[in-house]
């Protein structure tokens, strides 16, 4: 149930996308997200579709696995699409009472729908092909210049990697506590909203306690190994660009360029 969320989940496979430098994937994804908001015409979307399909193909991650990540976002998607569909002023196609669907509304709803779906899939590809550690390493490197203006880049990225590392642990913990309470007759599914909120107490209290306990243990373990922040800290596996990384940069930039060209000239 909670295991369905694929954002932030790594899918082990041996593909060109898995081997790319995390910085490339990060920037590539960012460029792709920009392109989604630049694209406004049919051809723009077609180009984005081709780019996304190619990335999915190269990643060797099953499409089914990626679509699963959309499930929890379905409600948000539905609300956004419906709002756009019904609340857009313009040429009326259909109306019933205060609800009316306009031509502009339909177009806008479809566009927003596609954008949101591509956005989620696009970022899923990055997280599915990059381990959380690589991801934060890449982030740290990209943001390193901010160190000059006293932004604690290393600390932020360390916090991020710890947070990411804890997601599966806490999910497992939730599962375990839930089962233990179900074994004691707890009921998490029936009842009205107040009863349900109340029934979460036996789950949340132990979960918080365990999160604090784990945080405490981790802090202690880090200090025991003389962790003192990012100053003069070197890496065991420093990130190095290869030829394929430069190629990927070129492709992403060309793609965004083509997308902008379509917007401007078509």
């Amino acid at each position: 149930m909670i295991r369905d969320i694929t954002i932030g989940q790594f899918y082990p496979a041996d593909s060109i996308l898995h081997r790319l430098d995390p910085r490339v994937k990060f920037i590539g994804t960012f460029l792709f997200l920009i392109s989604l908001f630049v694209a406004d015409s049919f051809w723009g979307y077609a180009l984005a579709t081709v780019f996304l399909a190619a990335a999915i193909g190269l990643s060797k991650v099953p499409v089914k696995f990626m679509l699963k990540g959309l499930k929890p976002l379905f409600i948000i998607l539905l609300i956004t699409v419906l709002f756009n569909l019904f609340l857009m002023p313009g040429e009326v196609l259909w109306s019933a009472g205060f609800l009316k669907i306009t031509r502009e509304g339909v177009v806008q709803a479809v566009k927003i729908g596609i954008r949101l779906i591509y956005l989620v899939i696009g970022s899923s590809i990055m997280t599915l092909t990059t381990t959380p550690n690589q991801l934060t390493d890449g982030m740290e490197k990209i943001l390193a210049p901010l160190n000059k203006i006293k932004v604690p880049v290393h600390e932020i990225s360390m916090m991020m990697s710890i947070a990411l590392r804890f997601i599966p642990i806490l999910m497992e913990e939730t599962d375990k506590i839930m089962k233990a309470q179900i074994a004691r007759g707890a009921d998490f599914e029936s009842g009205n909203i107040i009863q349900r909120a109340k029934s979460m107490v036996p789950l949340l209290v132990p979960l918080f306690i365990s999160a604090f306990r784990r945080a405490d243990d981790l802090a202690m373990a880090m200090e025991a190994r003389c962790y003192h922040g990012g100053d003069n800290r070197t890496q065991m596996k420093p990130l190095v660009y290869h030829r394929r990384d430069y190629a990927a940069y070129v492709i992403s930039v060309l793609y965004l360029g083509a997308d902008i060209a379509l917007r401007v000239f078509l």
Partner: protein
């Protein structure tokens, strides 16, 4: 007969790269009143197995019967099943949540629909059975020591008065004294209340002297199933799957090899002593 598994297979994340068979075609019958020990290495499927007993996990293939009824048939009340088959998870103290010990133990009976008075009555009885002193009943469960917390958590399941009690590594992380106290308490419950007990452990030593029967799991399959003596006689095969027979078994086997006709089925130190003395032709008082 109380619990029966027929050709149960359980697969984690079927159809993905993470696909693993946690259980492979396990068939099993546990008559009521038995004291069963389940032993296996980490990842052998023992925790998955016990979660099938009270319907927390649904077999991918196969059927689970409780008192002859298929627990996954339409209309079967899993809630009722869970109040009859009590399951104490590993590190059960991690599930405590109430402000005081007594209300935490009341959680189970209240979910069963007991009145406040009845729930408290049951809670007190359960706490007495686990041997927690009365002065702790009103203190916060988080102020107690590890062993005391565990007693509270076990009482939380006992208060539901189950017919079958399953405990997953109830002694993990306890010191030897705490371990013996908890195991003695469980053995006492088994004889006193005549309930079926299923005890999961990875240490033969711990459970050998309590159980009537041992089930050894390996890689999701039944490796051995039988009386402790019979299982321990396979000590070489047990070593191959990363387990060991109790130390006494090794001593007795070594003695036998050395030409002393010691009884290799001895499990406790007391039994071993008697059998060695007998083999040497002496009586106890020599």
């Amino acid at each position: 007969m109380s619990l029966r598994l027929e050709h149960v297979t359980y697969t984690y994340s079927p159809g993905s790269v993470y696909e693993t068979h946690a259980l492979k075609d396990v068939s099993l019958e546990i008559p009521s009143g038995q004291f069963l020990g389940v032993i296996g290495h980490t990842g052998s499927g023992k925790s998955t197995l016990i979660q099938h007993f009270n319907g927390l996990m649904r077999p991918t293939v196969g059927t689970v019967y409780y008192k002859g009824e298929d627990i996954w048939q339409e209309g079967y009340s899993l809630k009722r099943l869970r109040s009859q088959v009590g399951l104490v998870f590993q590190y059960p103290e991690h599930q405590l949540f109430e402000a005081d010990v007594l209300s935490d133990v009341c959680f189970g009976p209240k979910n069963q629909g007991c009145s406040k008075e009845e729930a408290e009555e049951r809670a007190v009885r359960a706490l007495q059975q686990t041997g927690l002193k009365e002065k702790y009943y009103k203190s916060s469960p988080f102020e107690l020591s590890g062993g005391q917390k565990r007693r509270v958590a076990i009482a939380g399941v006992l208060a539901m008065e189950p017919e079958v009690l399953i405990l997953d590594e109830p002694t993990a992380g306890l010191d030897p004294k705490g371990r013996d106290e908890i195991l003695d308490q469980i053995a006492w419950l088994h004889t006193e209340r005549n309930i079926t007990v299923i005890l999961v452990s990875h240490s033969m030593e711990d459970i050998a002297r309590y159980v009537d029967r041992i089930l050894v799991m390996n890689k999701g399959e039944k490796a051995f199933d039988g009386k402790p003596e019979a299982v321990f006689s396979h000590y070489r095969e047990l070593e191959e799957i990363g387990l060991a027979a109790p130390q006494i078994t090794y001593i007795m086997q070594a003695l036998r090899k050395a030409g002393i006709p010691a009884d290799t089925s001895a499990i406790t130190v007391k039994e071993a002593k008697e059998s060695i003395l007998k083999a040497l032709g002496r009586t106890k008082h020599d």
